[in-house]
Subunit: 397 residues, 2 copies
C-alpha cells in the first residue's frame, strides 16, 4: 500500500452539491446581505422572470382583503433586475429584530434559494435574518455557556398517549446535583413544541440572560398545546403529513386537564424544585389562555403567571369542567395570590379589548396583577420582548 | 364581565397565514401525494411558468458535466400543466426509501411550496418524503417508546472552545439509574452534528430497533467533525452565516486529537459504561476516516468500529502526528483486536478502490474485519442501511 495517496475524496465528496448548482444555473448569490448601516439587500437570480417581489415583516405592513375582511399583512416591495439577471432590493436601515421574508416570482411565492435559514410558522416557511443590537442581542447565539435543548416524550395517562415537548436545561445541569425552578412556556394556536425555541428564540434568550446574571438559572418546558397531535408536524407517527391550521380540541379543556401529567413527568424525571414557589407558567395567545385556565384550575401549582397577547374566555359552546365556575376558581387562586400575575399585550392586538375587559374584572375584585402595554399587534416580535421582560421577574425570592 | 363571549380569536389567530395565502394566489395544492401503489404525484401551481421540472433521487440518475468531469446527478422529469395552472408529474411505483426532490421553475430551482418538510444537506435545501415498507419502516416515527434527542455543548480543552453535539439517550434514560454503552456516530464532509439525526434518521432507527429488541439500548453521540465550526450553520455565534462547503481543518488531525474531550464529557455527564467494551465509533465518508484514525490513535477506547463509505488515508500534505506511524498504530490496535471492525461501501462509490486497497492491507496483516458491499454509490440511502446493519452487532457480549 502506498504511503501517501492524495486524498481526492475531499473534493469529490462535495461533487454532487456543486454539480447540482451547475445544473441549476445559479451563480453564487449573496442574499440577504446586511450593510454596516443595517440596511439589507435581498437578491434573487431569475433572468427569465417578469416580476420579482420581496415580502416580509421588515416592510411596513399593508391592508389587504382577506377572508375575514380588511387586515394587515406583510408589506411587499418590487425588486429590480440587473443586466446579469439578478433581481435586487435594498431595505432602509432596520432596527434590531429577527425578521422573516419570502420572494414572489411571477406570482409564485418561494423562499430565498440563497438563504438556507428558514422557520416554519404554522403551515408556512419563511426565511429569517437577524439585525443585531438592543434587545435583539438576546436572540443571538453569543459566546456564553449554553444550556441543553432536548426533545422529550412524556406519558399522559389522562389522554392515554405519549406527547412530545422541548425541555431547556441550563448550562451545568448535566454535571451537578442542583435542583432548579421550572417555567412552563406555551405556544399559540397552530404552533407546537418547537415554536418558542425556534421563532421565539427562547433558548438563546435564556442562555444570554442567565449568563449576564439577569435571570435565575431555570428549566424551561415547552409543551405542545394541540391535543389532537402528539407533537409537531413531521415529528409523530403521522409522518410527513401536511400541517393543519385549524386543529380540533385545542381549547376544549383537554389540554388544561392533562397538564398535571407534564408537571408530574418533569418532577419525576428532572431535578426540579417541585413546589408552587418554584413553578411559573406563561404563554402567548392560545398559550396565554391555557396558562390562565391551568393556573386557576390548579391554584397550588404556579406562583408566576404570564399572559402574553392572551385569549381570555372560552367559546360559548365550551362545556368542559375546566371552564366552569370561572369566578369561584379565580377567587380561590387570588386568595393565596400568586407572586406575579403578568399581563402583556400590544395596543394593536385584536385581543386588546378582551384583555382590557379582563383587567377590569381583576380590578373590580382587587386581584393584583402587573400590566405591560406595548406597540404593535399579535406578532412574535412582541412575544420575544415579553419573554425578556417576564423572565427576570421569576424566582427572585 | 359577560359570562359568555364567543371566542373569535380562534379564527383571527390564523388570519395572517390565510391572508398570505390569499395574497400569494395559491390554491390548496397537495404535493407530494403518495398513491396506494407507491407512485407519487408532485404538483406545483404556476400558471404563468413556461417550464416546470422536478428533480430528485427518486428518478434514475443522469450523467452531467460538472466542474470535476462527467458525474451522476439526480434525474430530471418534465411536469405537465393542467388548465388550472397546476403542473403535475407522477412517478413510477417507488421502493421504500426516504427520498428528496426540488422543482425547477423556468430555470430557477425552488423547493415545493406545498411541502414544509425540508432537509439541509450541506448548503442545499431539498424537500423530503418517505415511502414506507421494508427497511424504510425503521425510518418512520412509530408508536414505540421514544428516546430523548438533545443538543448539548461540551467543552474541549484541546481546542479551547465549546462545541455542539447531538446526544440520543434511549427511552427511560431520565427515569432510571442504569448505565449504557455509547456509540459515537460521525458525519461526512460538509455535514454537521444534525446530519445523522436528520438525513440519517438515526434517532428513528434507534427507537424502532431498540423497541423491537434488535438493538441494545445505548447512548448515541453525534459530534461535529468540522473543527473550524463550533456547531452547525445557524447554531453558533456566527449567526445566520451561509454554510461553507469547503471548510478548513476537517482532516488535518485536529478533530481526532480533540476527540477524547468529547468522550470525557460524556463519561463525566451521562450514565455511560466508561470502558472500551462499551464504546463504538462509526462514521460515513469523512466520518469513517475520522473513526479509522481515532480508533487507531486511541486503541484502548473503542471495541466496535464502523467505516461507512469511508475515506482512508490523509492527503500527502498532512503532517499531523495523528497520521504518523500508520502501520505501527494499526498493529497496536489489532494486537488487542476490536470485537468488530466493519467496513461497508457501495460498488459505485468513488472511494471503492481506496477501500479495496485498505482491505488488502488488513488481509496482508491478518487483521480481522467484516466486509459488506452494497449497490449504489456515496449516498445517504446506503448510510442509513449500513446503520441498521451495524447497530445490531454492537454490545452483544
Amino acid at each position: 500500500m502506498k504511503k501517501l495517496i492524495l486524498f481526492t475524496g475531499v473534493v469529490l465528496t462535495v461533487l454532487n452539491c456543486n454539480a447540482q448548482q451547475a445544473l441549476w444555473g445559479g451563480s453564487q448569490i449573496v442574499s440577504p446581505e446586511t450593510h454596516p448601516d443595517k440596511s439589507v439587500t435581498f437578491r434573487m437570480y431569475a433572468p427569465e422572470a417578469e416580476s420579482v417581489l420581496v415580502t416580509g415583516d421588515f416592510l411596513a405592513p399593508q391592508l389587504a382583503d382577506t377572508p375575514y375582511g380588511k387586515a394587515e399583512v406583510p408589506g411587499v416591495a418590487d425588486m429590480v433586475k440587473d443586466p446579469n439577471g439578478v433581481w435586487e432590493f435594498t431595505s432602509e436601515a432596520l432596527s434590531p429584530e429577527l425578521y422573516s421574508y419570502t420572494f414572489i416570482v411571477d406570482g409564485i411565492r418561494m423562499t430565498d434559494p440563497s438563504n438556507v435559514f428558514q422557520l416554519r410558522d404554522i403551515a408556512s416557511l419563511t426565511n429569517v435574518f437577524l439585525i443585531d443590537g438592543d434587545y435583539a442581542d438576546y436572540y443571538r447565539i453569543n459566546d456564553v455557556p449554553h444550556g441543553t435543548v432536548s426533545k422529550v416524550w412524556y406519558d399522559s395517562p389522562t389522554i392515554g398517549t405519549d406527547r412530545r415537548m422541548t425541555v431547556y436545561t441550563p448550562a451545568g445541569y448535566e454535571k451537578g446535583d442542583r435542583r432548579y425552578p421550572v417555567l412552563y412556556l406555551l405556544h399559540g394556536m397552530g404552533g407546537d413544541e418547537n415554536a418558542w425555541a425556534e421563532l421565539g428564540r427562547a433558548t438563546q434568550v435564556l442562555d444570554n440572560m442567565i449568563a449576564r446574571g439577569e435571570v435565575e438559572p431555570m428549566i424551561v418546558v415547552m409543551t405542545n398545546g394541540n391535543i389532537a397531535m402528539e407533537g409537531a408536524p413531521g415529528e409523530t407517527s403521522l409522518g410527513f403529513a401536511p400541517p393543519t391550521i385549524n386543529l380540533p380540541n385545542t381549547m376544549d379543556g383537554t389540554f388544561e386537564k392533562h397538564f398535571p401529567d407534564a408537571v408530574k413527568y418533569m418532577d419525576s424525571n428532572y431535578r426540579t424544585i417541585a413546589d408552587k414557589e418554584h413553578r411559573a407558567i406563561a404563554g402567548l395567545s392560545m398559550g396565554g389562555f391555557h396558562s390562565l385556565h391551568i393556573s386557576k384550575q390548579y391554584p397550588d401549582m404556579f406562583d408566576y403567571i404570564g399572559l402574553f397577547s392572551s385569549a381570555i374566555k372560552p367559546g360559548k359552546d365550551s362545556v368542559s369542567e375546566i371552564y366552569a365556575d370561572y369566578d369561584g376558581k379565580l377567587e380561590k387562586q387570588f386568595a393565596d395570590a400568586p407572586q406575579l400575575y403578568w399581563i402583556a399585550i400590544g395596543n394593536k392586538d385584536f385581543l386588546y379589548d378582551a384583555n382590557k375587559e379582563y383587567r377590569q374584572y381583576l380590578d373590580e375584585h382587587g386581584y393584583k396583577y402587573v400590566y405591560r402595554e406595548s406597540p404593535d399587534g399579535h406578532i412574535w416580535k412582541n412575544w420575544r420582548i415579553y419573554l425578556t421582560e417576564f423572565l427576570p421577574q421569576l424566582f427572585k425570592d
